[in-house]
Amino acid sequence: MGPIIVVVEMQSDAMSPASAELLSRARQLARAQSTRVVALGFGEAARGALGSSGADDAFLAAGADAYVPTQAEAALRQVLQETAAGLVLLPNTTMGMDLGAATAAAEGRPMVAYATSLAAVEGGAFKATSQVYGGKLVAEVAVPEGSVVTVLPGSWPADEAVSGTTPVRDLVVAGESPMELVRTIEPDTGDVDITRADVLVSVGRGIQDPDNLELADELAEALGAVVSCSRPVVDAGWLPRARQVGKSGQTVKPKLYLALGISGAPEHLQGMKDSEIIVAINSDPTAPIFEVAHYGATCDILELMPILTERLGGAD
């Protein structure tokens, strides 16, 4: 089989944890299928990370240090054509969503998204499980040789120590890009840093109405906690972006994460599943949040919040 290609993503000058996870699994799969691991990174800032990636070989696509979708896609397609890849792995991040589907479609390769496990099977193919329907169902998928797979960050641990040096080859990508980077935008830090709170009272769409946020504020005050939320609460304009937990928000690891009216979509879980204690209240007993929560209940959050606040001696 051709090599396993891992597309590496950078995060503040280091390889992202999701990329390290992919490389670890790629090395195991490559051993099982008697092939090599080839890493691909973008921009000069990735050179060091590629050199110590533990891959057998690496390509560095020159160009902007920031990720530019069209340039990255041209580079990945060039690597696939040069190497006859047996498997292409990307993190299921913005980059993976862009490059995974487009490259698979352009190169006529099968594609599996949202993978949470990946194993080798006899005869050069693979098997994956994927989280679909907001995490309510799991699909077990036969992954043919040559497929593109995007993996949810945090699906398995990364190897701790990686030894050896990977030779890094510069990749020159021909052609002009129809897309140009105008500027990068740093996160808006907002009034509070939810990543530093010991206890988070986190509300989701189950809060139903912005007026009900007062109940969460009062509860948080009684608990000495901070209010955070899922993405739809931010998109509705009810809480500022800095309060958002998840894939496109913050990753938090408080002592207690109280999830109120949050379904537990993979994109949300990604930001909070390593919290020390997770308590979930959701009226739907099949909500995926209960798969990661330590304690749960199916009562109405609008009823629970004031009672809890009162029991904790807070506002009434």
């Binding site: 920031a66 913005t94 309510k136 998928v141 990068t184 304009g237 800095a242 007993p285």
Partner: protein, 255 residues
């Protein structure tokens, strides 16, 4: 700027997801469907562009089931045109094949900008925005917000983890997977949608059959095995509150 907004409906996750007899798919006829929430965001962003710079907006759906109401809703919200791609297919059509049918239509339909929802809850075989970009050979980006027309080109912001973002400028034609609109999607009363469905017509376009695409096959679809399932507290809100307070005390988490 001619904009196509692609819309589809998906199983309502609030309802129980029944599996079919094969154990490889959903019992599609027994489910209830809702418009994919990210399509509402894409449509809203397109309508805001129309209001800001006079774009022409078409809502486009593949007729895999009951899509008329979705299209009438788009018209009622302010879309200029609604296109239904008709052919011999149903809800079980995999995303990859849907993408091919959509790409074949879009290739010759003269749009400058194609906007889709960033993802849908059922797209195991990749997100449509990327698939279309790859099939059409057009520039594309997903997880996008703040789309603006800028002298014939399009500017947009792409979101990454941790709240980081980047702004890009791209020539057209272009495909964007929209994460969120500048404002929450507008609401139209049902009476208005009914009225539109009586006065406006959907444009039906004959699309191709089910194309052959290389696919990864689902061998089994199942509910997550409850390995790490939460310890559930039964009872009413009072009892749950008591259990929670006891936990806080035990963990010394009361301030």
């Amino acid at each position: 700027m001619r904009i196509a907004v692609l819309v589809k409906d998906v199983p309502d996750l609030v309802e129980e997801l029944e599996l079919d007899e094969s154990g490889r798919g959903l019992a599609v006829d027994d489910l209830s469907y809702v418009p994919s929430e990210w399509d509402d965001q894409a449509l809203e962003e397109a309508l805001l562009l129309k209001e800001a710079s006079g774009a022409h907006v078409s809502a486009v759906a593949l007729d895999t089931g009951d899509v008329d109401n979705m299209l009438y809703t788009a018209l009622a919200k302010g879309a200029d045109r609604a296109v239904k791609l008709v052919g011999d297919y149903d809800r079980t059509l995999p995303g990859r094949q849907r993408a091919r049918i959509l790409a074949d239509y879009l290739a010759g339909a003269g749009y400058d900008l194609v906007m889709t929802g960033v993802q849908a809850v059922d797209d195991l075989d990749g997100q449509i925005a990327g698939l279309l970009g790859g099939m059409l050979g057009w520039p594309h980006a997903s997880v996008v917000r703040d789309v603006a027309v800028d002298s014939g080109a399009v500017r947009f912001v792409q979101e990454y983890a941790g709240g980081r973002m980047a702004e890009f400028r791209s020539s057209t034609p272009l495909v964007l997977g929209v994460q969120a609109a500048k404002k929450p999607p507008r609401y139209v009363p049902i009476a208005r949608i009914r009225q539109v469905s009586r006065s406006a017509a959907l444009e039906e376009v004959e699309a191709g059959g089910s194309p052959s695409e290389s696919l990864a096959a689902i061998e089994r679809l199942y509910r997550p095995e409850a390995q790490g399932h939460a310890t559930m507290w039964d009872g009413d809100a009072e009892q749950v509150a008591a259990a929670l307070v006891a936990l806080l005390d035990e963990q010394h988490l009361r301030s």
